[in-house]
């Protein structure tokens, strides 16, 4: 009996698809969009929020991928390569949009006394919801708080914590230093923590 190996099956599928794409076979382009488009759309929705913007970015990403198929060297998976192109397309889209007014990140960070203690002591949070309606409400709340973060911090949080780019990859796509990625990520998490804090502190008994 043949042993199934999903990883090599997927690699073979990608290799076959790539050959057909490079040969300019129309059906192969549709197949690529159906194969990878859903995942790319999910990335774009997370980064851009609006459905229309997300679809525009995915379209841009595919067109840019089609143009550079010859440069795809096959060292990474096709889906990984497309993921990177999608992130770039979303960043281009964000840069071309008019910025909405934002609060400064400092407004969300902890405040300290001169001796380095927190101005307001932190109190424990409730355990996280593990299912049911509560988890859906929590997801919606957290999404709305992520939206409130200033864009350059929100993007780093999404790229690092959600899209799971490593520090160097995030630095490359954003055109900033790895250290700046680290600092922004830490501030973004702190800011999000501060925004969520009133909703999750345990009631005092």
């Amino acid at each position: 009996m043949a042993v199934e190996n999903p990883e090599s099956d997927s690699a073979e599928f990608e290799a076959r698809l790539l050959t057909r794409l490079r040969a300019g076979e129309d059906a192969a382009f549709d197949e690529l969009v159906r194969f990878a488009g859903g995942r790319m759309l999910a990335v774009a929705r997370r980064m851009l929020g609006r459905e229309e913007d997300a679809q525009d970015a995915v379209q841009d990403a595919f067109l840019s991928a089609f143009k550079s198929l010859d440069r795809f060297d096959g060292r990474s998976q096709l889906t990984t390569w497309l993921h990177r192109i999608t992130v770039n397309a979303c960043l281009m889209k964000l840069r071309s949009q008019r910025r909405r007014p934002e609060k400064a990140i400092e407004d969300f960070l902890p405040e300290y006394l001169e001796d380095g203690h927190q101005r307001k002591s932190s109190t424990p949070w409730k355990p996280l919801a593990s299912g049911g309606i509560e988890i859906e409400e929590t997801r919606a709340l957290v999404r709305s708080k992520i939206e409130e973060l200033p864009e350059q911090f929100r993007l780093v949080l999404i790229l690092r914590d959600i899209e799971e780019l490593d520090t160097e990859e995030a630095a490359t796509v954003l055109g900033i230093t790895p250290n700046a990625v680290k600092t922004r990520l830490h501030r973004a998490r702190q800011a999000l923590r501060g925004l969520l804090d009133p909703h999750f502190v345990e009631a005092e008994s």
Binding site: F29, D30, V33, R34, G37, G38, R39, L41, A42, R46, Q55, V58, Q59, F62, L63, F66, K67, P110, Y112, D115, G116, H117, Q118, S121, S122, T123, P124, W125, L128, I135, T138, R139, A140, L141, V142, R143, I146, L157, I158, D161, I162, K182, L185, H186, R189, Q190, L192, R193, L196, D197, F200
Partner: protein, 87 residues
């Protein structure tokens, strides 16, 4: 930072990401953990920071498996037309 110094809450909070990444030096890590041993506020902060990361992932995670749903037909068509135009 000198090894003999005690860190403040502010410094501890500045180092949380490095602590969680496991990139603090052993003496710094020991001092970080010593501070946690005497500061309930920082224990609460660290715990809520970790929960924030988990909740961020949970809030924006894919909900429908690796395929993540179908591509809307309109988008497929738009991509096909845009490609035809460029050819």
């Amino acid at each position: 930072m000198k090894q003999s110094e005690y860190i403040t809450c502010r410094e501890l909070i500045d180092f949380i990401a490095d602590y969680l990444d496991g990139t603090l030096s052993p003496p710094m890590r020991a001092e970080f953990e010593r501070h946690l041993g005497v500061c309930p506020s920082c224990v609460a902060y660290l715990d809520s920071y970790k929960k924030t990361i988990s909740m961020g992932k949970m809030a924006l995670a894919r909900t429908d498996g690796p395929a993540t749903g179908a591509v809307p037909e309109g988008l497929l068509r738009a991509i096909r037309e845009a490609r035809a135009k460029k050819d």
